[in-house]
Symmetry: C2
Subunit: 211 residues, 2 copies
DNA sequence: CCACTCTTGTGAAATAGTTCGCAATTAAGT
DNA sequence: ACTTAATTGCGAACTATTTCACAAGAGTGG
């Protein structure tokens, strides 16, 4: 079987395309050219076509893409044709914001379990979900067959929690703590580092000033 | 004047290196080799050396880098040798979490102004800062000479707020809303798209399953 | 002061990702 | 049926980034 390695940048763009297509659907648009999509998300039309070409031929020459069809293909490519259960670890400021965010559910991501090690927080309700003690984490991951964990604990606790999640059989982790985590290569890890984002801005501002 | 274009990936790694060096400083470590840094942040040692080479020669052959020195250089390269005032627009769930986050101040980013258009929220205190009405935004940006804006408003309001910020003279925007924003190319824009991050995980989980 | 070890800095090679350019195909107009 | 205009899919060219590999120092110990 021939398996191409898909650039991560491509995957990220696919996600953005799919959201833009959703917007077009809402607006009642039936077809869109690669150029229209490109304009909408701020890339080149060749880029759009190349990205899609990794996965098949979805368009019609001379016409463009049917919005509903392409949207369906992208959802399926991204693994969004079924819902995902998520466990959120650390119900602090950031964790609470994420837990209450509607945007995730809209894309099929459901925060079905929230755990924290602070007794004062355990028992609180975030939306429909009650914060449970950290001790039940392993059990919940196993019994609910949760594949995705979101980490919003302090950096000092991050590796520890990660090890427990991995042991419990988690398959992917989205880490918000500013710590480099070690995971076996069977587990997919992504880091969202907000300070890094600000510092890239700061770097560019600094550059502009000098040149 | 010779100006090298620095890959964005390099800049992001510099930020991570600098944080790791800070950690080493705390631990009382005096020198670190490129290999040690590489291990600590999960890249190759050649990558570390190449990244640093864009900016100068900071190490000593046979020895490595003086942690305090290199840390200082990186802070300066990243424009972190002075503090930055930030305006936060949208004091909702995510905005509040960001406003109260200590990690930013530690790196020299100070949320000095917070604005929102919801009368029920205006007047609330987030840490030391009082949420002000959206109407004062332009004035605050100008009078405090704020360069960086953080956007945590709903997608529907994002472009509108952006236009106002640009008009007020903002230089850089960190956008958390899932909308592609248009800004003049004199303004630096970065997007933090949390749904995209989850969808990349979902894509990879989906792939693993199939192959 | 020489031999040995360690580790940087950096060209060159390898890999990865983006843009270009156009043949192929479709639809619409005549 | 033919012509024209639009737009995809895709190989080839180009550009960017990472990795390799090693000469050039720098410290250490005899
Ligand atoms: N708040 C932000 O805007 C923001 C921005 C960028 C990064 N972060 C990072 O996100 C993480 C969380 O930030 P926050 O501001 O929400 O902090 P927070 O202190 O409000 O929340 C952390 C939560 O984790 C819980 N916790 C601590 N140790 C735990 C453990 N071992 N097991 C389970 N739960 C545990 C705490 O009880 C607390 O509820 C931190 O790593 C922070 O650096 C936060
Ligand atoms: N909460 C999350 O975890 C999360 C995750 C990913 C993305 N986001 C994005 O971040 C943004 C904010 O999310 P949130 O959950 O904090 O929403 P929220 O509704 O809690 O907060 C939005 C705030 O913006 C204010 N606002 C609305 N229009 C405004 C305007 N024109 N000018 C000034 N203020 C205005 C509202 O009054 C509200 O306080 C959204 O775009 C959302 O998609 C949030």
């Amino acid at each position: 079987m021939k398996v191409y390695k898909i650039p991560e940048a491509t995957v990220m763009r696919l996600s953005v395309y799919s959201r833009f297509l959703h917007q077009l659907l809402d607006e009642g648009v039936n077809t869109a050219s690669s150029e229209a999509i490109a304009q909408g998300v701020g890339v080149s039309s060749a880029q759009v076509r190349k990205d899609l070409a990794y996965f098949g031929e979805f368009g019609t020459r001379g016409v463009g893409y049917r919005v509903d069809e392409l949207y369906g293909h992208l959802k399926s490519i991204l693994g969004l044709d079924h819902d995902w259960n998520i466990i959120l670890v650390g119900a602090g400021k950031l964790g609470s914001a994420l837990a209450l965010y509607q945007g995730f559910a809209e894309r099929g991501f459901h925060v079905s379990t929230i755990v924290d090690n602070d007794k004062k927080i355990v028992g609180n309700k975030l939306g429909m979900v009650t914060v449970e003690p950290i001790e039940v984490m392993t059990q919940r991951v196993k019994e609910k067959d949760i594949k995705v964990g979101v980490l919003t604990v302090p950096a000092s606790a991050a590796q520890n929690v990660t090890d427990l999640l991995v042991e419990a059989g988690i398959k992917a982790i989205l880490n918000f703590s500013p710590r480099v985590l070690k995971v076996p290569n069977t587990v997919i890890l992504r880091n969202v580092d907000l300070s890094v984002n600000l510092e890239v801005l700061s770097f560019n501002l600094n550059m502009n000033k000098k040149n």
